[in-house]
Symmetry: C2
Subunit: 411 residues, 2 copies
Amino acid sequence: MALIVQKFGGTSVGSIERIEQVADKVKKHREAGDDLVIVLSAMSGETNRLIELAKQVSDQLVPRELDVIVSTGEQVTIALLAMALIKRGVPAVSYTGNQVRILTDSAHNKARILQIDDQKIRADLQAGKVVVVAGFQGVDEHGNITTLGRGGSDTTGVALAAALRADECQIYTDVDGVYTTDPRVVPLARRLEKITFEEMLEMASLGSKVLQIRSVEFAGKYNVPLRVLHSFKEGPGTLITIDEEESMEQPIISGIAFNRDEAKLTIRGVPDTPGVAFKILGPISAANIEVDMIVQNVSHDNTTDFTFTVHHNEYEKALSVLESTAREMGAREVIGDTKIAKVSIVGVGMRSHAGVASRMFEALAKESINIQMISTSEIKVSVVIEEKYLELAVRALHTAFELDAPARQSE
Amino acid sequence: MALIVQKFGGTSVGSIERIEQVADKVKKHREAGDDLVIVLSAMSGETNRLIELAKQVSDQLVPRELDVIVSTGEQVTIALLAMALIKRGVPAVSYTGNQVRILTDSAHNKARILQIDDQKIRADLQAGKVVVVAGFQGVDEHGNITTLGRGGSDTTGVALAAALRADECQIYTDVDGVYTTDPRVVPLARRLEKITFEEMLEMASLGSKVLQIRSVEFAGKYNVPLRVLHSFKEGPGTLITIDEEESMEQPIISGIAFNRDEAKLTIRGVPDTPGVAFKILGPISAANIEVDMIVQNVSHDNTTDFTFTVHHNEYEKALSVLESTAREMGAREVIGDTKIAKVSIVGVGMRSHAGVASRMFEALAKESINIQMISTSEIKVSVVIEEKYLELAVRALHTAFELDAPARQSE
């Protein structure tokens, strides 16, 4: 008999019918013999409705009071599911973040979990109950209601699983697992049976938005086996674990991630003196703009070219900051490009296999795709290319690294 | 500088515009120098919406879980008002029942307040804040969310005023005070400046639904001066106090209450043996039917006639119980009447004035209104009459006891 934490998101509890379906599913799992802790989000749209209500009162939302308001969203769904379970003859009880007690810091709207009291939940599980917990929320040491910020319900699930030393934390979503790449781009993309936390982090931060990054970090840190599953379809989903031993038998590359959200900025002909990188990026960071890839080209004529990428939304702001920096530094020119895409290959297999990067470059060269920037980490190689080649590049890499699914059987 | 608890009901916070109006009002009072604790209900309609949501999940509402759901209604309004106050430059903070901590028993959906921790509120008042508290809700000793039942926000207001030893508890409603009788029946009805708790209880239970009976009992018990005021009109309202000394100067009768919600049942020709009342009312009470007035006529021929009233909704049920009792007791017949009304004169002045009842009967006789039942208490005389004479009777009594307002001035 295992102890499983199951988290259902907003669309999974978006209507009474959906809540009934979740109750059916939970009942089935419970009858299979597992101890269950269910974590829920608010009904989809409800959090936004509550925020809009608050905005009608004041443009300047008061973070503490906003948390009091939005935390009611999950409070409603947990009690509805508990009732739906009790109606089905499954003993159940609901708890708000405060009732559990999920202790957080006092950073309203983006609090971090500090500690979880597992006493009540353990006693209820012992008594044969399914425990339904409000995701996304907690309470600080002064008794103020806090929320973890958007997507925080995943984090609640993982944190509960860690605190209870659960056998698995299952995240139910609207996809049936983590794929080698986006199936809309590569129809032959395959669901992964398994992926490591590190790979998942690279995949997630690179644009495969299945799980909240924070929850994956949390799961990795506390070694909580995490499984992504579809809320209403059967299937094993994708297991995310620390387990690297088996990766040897797996393909070198687990997946291809990509991202169209970035723009590129280059400052050219910068006098190459020590501290040039800081002089350029200091003002960008001071303007609260996050930088992703950074490349500094080899200098010639005592000048250097410096290129970095930022989110599309911050491109204009970054451009104006960079132009003023260029004037101060006496740089030759500033150029920008918003028509770029980033493509990355991700896999822990890279660690034990040489030549992965060159195999990537070869595959792109074969398609005559020019590489504008390259950035590498231990388990990832990213390149920036012209945006129009994105699909072509992803498909070429998916094939080159033998990720394509065998000819499809009937589902 | 006084400490005032102000309670605003669901219609007073029924929309964002209304909440803004309440915030303006509170700001004005605060600037006048009083320390303020504000108690709020949910937005009108919200509690029903939440109950309907729960009913869609299960016909058999689980009381504990229902409280988790419906308590979110006030949680939203308190934070909205706190934000509206902060926007106006008035420091404010919101608290749920659990946060205050309003300790109740564990009778979900109809809990009773056991104790209120005034520590947080006092500290906030000291710091110059307006404290906004969720009405209607509390928490039991195990940390379960409880609600006090419909209208419980009035009780929260009074209980807080008692715990804080506030100078006054102001209940803001959609009427500008307590009237000598319903102005829709008697256009000359007058707003009372003052009324005692006892009188208010009799008026409330007899159909003047301005305040929750429980909150008036509570206010009387802890001697909390209670004032009924209009939410959005200026005016002194009606003060409800223990202060009886001044009643000598006041009219003998404070008001005329009435009620069309009752039906009358008579069992005739019952063998008059000891315990007959219990034999008749025992089964009624066992069927959970509440009885209001009871009259047993003098017996003749060793039989007696026994009459009582019940709520309209329970008339059919009571009739069938009574018919079976009649068969068992060998009574002659059972007759019922749903076309009745109850009219009562209420006033602490009765205690020191003889002949009040006969003055009432005289006034009714003058209008040829037949009295079917009479019941008296220390500060009240009630009669049951044919329903169609109700308005006539109330107007006659209002004039007979000199309650009519002087010719109206412009308002």
